[in-house]
Symmetry: C2
Subunit: 313 residues, 2 copies
């Protein structure tokens, strides 16, 4: 195989009580990339459509992630990459992670799968480092593995894939304001009360148990974050109204996607997720803020080939 | 049925990263109780063997828990209780919880099961309140449900039973020193760093995932507590040596049982759990402290009838 076209899913990190550890991948929101083997060593970004992003390899997250892979490979050639951005950078649904992940996953496919998923996450994390100064795995892990992923530890990196129940749908609304990740990190407190910590790990335990047992009600009860959401939500206009409309619409629960400004909700079934989308949208229509809204099943397989034939992961 | 004999399992609360939320029940360590219907209303503790404990109903945890049940029942009669204590009070493996749980579970059986497990936990929690001033569910929940239990929330009380993998065994050593629960709670800090909090909920998520997937290695990697153990272990002589000997013996991991002074380890298979017991014991032999040591499978069913015939839970 000389070239491959891939789908790179958008992802939600910081899933409520799973701040900094739990992420999920979306099935119907993501970028597309075409990656092609070339004789010339190195990575060349030949084309980016949909967004204004740097073409220079070392300034592009896909380029940097790809270089990290090449460093660990004995392949003598190089790759050309075309990126069709559909995820808006800064939207809080893993735009940079999608590009980094797509690049390294496609290269691994073209080289005959020499790397493990964990290694691909580590390469893609270099793209995240370029994007946000922190080589975090919150978005690239679910983009690679699909479903939900728990980053149990960074030292050593330990990623636990957790299957998503079939009827679980996400609604994500992106109000068109800019929040810098550095700002949303700066306002977090370095200390929390033990009492709130206990509630957080109780809820995270409940959420993980709910995912394994497909107990949608338990998933909903566990989607509580008493630590980060009360602070970060201040930066998101209309957050409280959105949250209250989401609950009234029958969603299981909601929270901030990544470091915002997007807000996600989880629902049982697509129908409810669509109702939630309408209610979320009506809040921003009333406020007068532009927005994008997406409804998507949780993606069970992560980054995937868009070529004909059975998917090979 | 006019009387019933029950086994009331010992329990381990604060299972490592599951401080204040995760507990488990032991299969072969516990008290026995005989509970008998009487025409005379109220609860009478007729006999306690094995330990010196108060017989007056309102000063006995089983009595108080039983009174809480009677208050919610339309039963006009009463109960007599004989307790055969095998768990030492103050050992950190749920001595009071065993008595409270056994009493209310037996009464519920004799009355034809009018109550839910959640209600039985709530009655038994009144016994815990008498024993330690706090109506906590950490020990009574696993004693009622068996296996592991997660107390996700107290308001409202939300208990998630989590199955224990078949080959999971606990070793518990009880060095014969007294640590008051109030002292071990007093030395805890009211604030923790967000960074340690994140590690804790990452580990708890890993532990719950490991229990569902029977991934013993993941269970072991997740048995880390960077918040409570470093503080409370100071009160337990030889803790660091025990921990290090446990890891050398092939256990999955270890931690403080409840608020101490007992130390528990979890192992895959009874053979390893027995080796761990010997190694733990040798530490206290060297120090010169008396101790009890137990090896037990994780109890899948919780409190149970000791009468002939199939168990009715």
């Amino acid at each position: 195989m000389e070239e491959i076209k891939v789908f790179c899913p958008a992802t939600i990190a910081n899933v409520s009580c799973g701040f900094d550890v739990l992420g999920l991948a979306l099935e119907s929101v993501g970028d597309e990339m075409l990656v092609r083997k070339t004789d010339k060593p190195g990575i060349k970004i030949t084309k980016i459509t949909g967004q204004e992003l740097p073409l220079a390899t070392e300034n592009n997250v896909a380029g940097v992630a790809g270089l990290a892979l090449l460093q660990k490979s004995d392949y003598q050639g190089g790759f050309e990459i075309e990126i069709q951005k559909k995820i808006k950078p800064g939207s809080g649904i893993g735009s940079s992670a999608a590009s980094s992940t797509g690049a390294v996953w496609a290269m691994d496919q073209l080289l005959g799968n020499p790397f493990t998923k964990l290694e691909l996450v580590q390469f893609a994390m270099q793209g995240e480092k370029l994007a946000s100064d922190v080589a975090h795995a919150d978005n690239v892990a679910p983009a690679i593995y699909g479903g939900f992923t728990l980053v149990r530890s960074y030292d050593p990196l330990d990623i636990i894939p957790i299957p998503a129940p079939d009827e679980l749908f996400a609604t994500v609304i992106h109000p068109q304001i800019e929040i810098k990740t550095s700002d949303s990190r700066k306002i977090l407190k370095t200390n929390i009360s033990l009492e709130k910590g206990i509630r957080q790990w109780g809820n995270l335990g409940g959420l993980i148990a709910g995912l394994y047992t497909k107990d949608y009600n338990l998933i909903g009860r566990s989607l509580e974050d008493h630590i980060v959401e009360p602070i970060r939500s201040i930066l998101i206009p209309g957050f409280d109204q959105v949250k209250s409309s989401v609950h009234d619409s029958g969603a299981l629960g909601c929270g901030i996607s990544g470091s915002g400004p997007s807000i996600f909700a989880l629902s049982k079934g697509e129908e409810t997720a669509q109702i939630v989308a309408k209610e979320m949208a009506s809040v921003y229509k009333t406020i007068g803020l532009d927005f994008d809204v997406h409804v998507s099943k949780i993606c069970s397989r992560g980054v995937a080939s868009l070529m004909a034939g059975p998917k090979d992961i």
